[in-house]
């Protein structure tokens, strides 16, 4: 039997549900009807698929503007969170500074990040949904899905749910599979630097811990640069839990990028 006949037989014997056939046929019919409508409009000029091209480009531009605006908002929130930690440095005890800096910084960072960005993000998504609807009325469902996705975001928890997590806060965890091309690209370039910082930090911390006494005071902490340890901890918390595009659990920025990428890709696919 010829290969082609084999293929025919395989298709004939396969149990294909009717709904697949109907859906596929329906889609083709809808596409054919759309083309027919476009081609039969009796006005000057030739109608092309320029509309679709422009729609794809508009969807990409929408995705770009939203992602860049998200980065700005989250970065601003991070700056405010760091400022908050800086103001509270005097409250830090020597024990937590030396052995558990994350205990001091985590709640402060997470609380500040939440209050600084959530309203802004909500407003941004509302505007973005409106802009998406303006590109094409067919994107209404996608715009609604974008807004609904806000409720599904998992914010970094204020309290550590795993006691070991505090200890590993400053270390770099292996990143899971990236959530998209953009996230993967950012993670690839950022990883090099994070690993380098962690190594530098590790050797510095060992020296400092050895030199610190049990009666260490705020002056000592500040004088020996131990406050930098808290600053570094806050920085790490912001970068790994909030601003990293990848990680486990997925940081907020990673989740946001994934949502916007999905909606943007879907919008572009609908204009093919």
């Amino acid at each position: 039997m010829e290969p082609r006949e084999n293929l025919k037989a395989a298709i004939r014997d396969r149990d294909v549900p009717d709904r697949f056939v109907i859906n596929a046929f329906g889609k083709r019919l809808a596409l054919a009807f759309r083309r027919l409508c476009r081609n039969s409009i009796p006005v000057k000029g030739e109608m092309m698929d320029l509309d679709l091209l422009e729609k794809r480009q508009a969807a990409l531009s929408w995705r770009d503007d939203l992602i860049l605006e998200m980065w700005s908002i989250v970065n601003r929130a991070g700056m405010e969170a760091k400022l908050g930690v800086e103001k509270d440095l005097a409250e830090a005890g020597i024990v937590e500074t030396l052995w558990d800096p994350a205990k001091f910084t985590r709640g402060r960072v997470d609380g500040a990040m939440r209050s600084a960005m959530l309203n802004e993000l909500e407003n941004l998504f509302r505007r973005a949904a409106e802009n998406l609807r303006k590109i094409d009325t067919g994107y209404v469902a996608l715009a609604d899905a974008l807004l609904e996705s806000l409720a599904a975001l998992k914010l970094p928890s204020l309290e550590p749910d795993d006691p070991n997590e505090v200890m590993t806060d400053a270390s770099h965890k292996s990143a899971p599979a990236p959530t998209g091309r953009l996230a993967a690209m950012i993670a690839t370039t950022a990883d090099r630097d994070l690993i380098k910082s962690a190594k530098e930090w590790g050797s510095w911390a060992l020296t400092m811990v050895g030199e610190a006494s049990e009666t260490a005071s705020q002056k000592l902490q500040s004088g020996t640069g131990l406050h930098d340890r808290l600053r570094r901890s806050a920085q790490t918390r912001i970068e790994t839990a909030w601003m990293a595009p990848t990680g486990e659990p997925l940081p907020l920025m990673g989740q946001l990028i994934a949502v916007v990428e999905n909606v943007g890709n879907e919008a572009r696919s609908m204009a093919l």
Binding site: V43, G45, L53, R56, N75, M185
Partner: protein, 369 residues
Amino acid sequence: MTNLGGMFTASFDAAAGIKAGNLRIVGSVVRYAAGPLKGKIHSYLQETGAAGALLDSVSGSGKAFVRTTVATGNPMTGAVVAGTQLASSLGGNVQNEIIRRGVNRVESKVDALASGMQTLENLGIANLALGATGIGVSLVGFGIMNARLSRVENTLATLAESTDRILAAVERIRQDQLANEFSALRSQVKLFEEAWLMSNQARATQVWLDVAQATRPHQDRFEGRARELLFAMPPEIELADPIIDALSLAGGLRVACLMACNESHAARSAASENARQIEGLTGAVGKADLVMARIPPSIDRASQEWADALAAAIDEAAPIAERWRQREAVAATRAAPLTQLELDGIAPHEWLKAARAEQNEPILLLKAT
């Protein structure tokens, strides 16, 4: 309306509408932006032989043009910098010109260049026209194609000088083989050009068909190289860009060859395929990707320094993203006039010939009816 030889109208027919916002340019097509005809095609843009003079004048100061264009992502900025050098070069040659040809001739040459540039600026397409992709059927003469090929090669050479990382990437895609690709493409352009001089139309047609066929593997290899660079992690966006320009040039050459043979269907198919290749490479790469690739990873996030780096990267990436969208649109609309030409009863060969012969206006219009 200014009718030029029954095939074209002058571009100022569209310039006023574009300025007023009633018309807008998408690739090589002018569309109605408002009113009852919104979205419909007003006319098709086509570069002419006069565009070659503009490109040559800029290429005279080529290195400055390329360096500035690479740095800013904006060919128009490159042209301004190169133009300064061009002006001094013209100034230096004025005395000789006066002696050889007389004052009037020199002035008219400079005036023609300035007028051509003004036309492009009025239409808002100077960047597009001076870029590698061009406008309409992007090839109307060896001078234009050669200038564009040289620019792409110079851009690659300039990039290879910039960092070790980029040099490594250039070596990875075999710089020597890339040079051979450019050389082969240039030979095909020469053959294309020579065929226009043949007295026997049948022989010329055969040459054009052969060129279209021979260019195909180059086009595919450019696509493969660009894909390799663009989809690497991290992607080599800057390096992929001129190779996509080369892909666009190769595609443009094939379309021009097939149009010269009056093979409208084949030309349409070649244009469509090239457009798909280009959009397949850059269609999903947006400003955000270009921006994030430009922010140094050594800068701590959640800092003013990072915010400043983000703002600077947006400024740098915006014109590049804009140019990429234009390149996709130009590729998608390259064969758009063919249907209109059929309606008008004009053979593509004759139309291309007329565009090549035009020496005053760099851009002409084919009105949609």
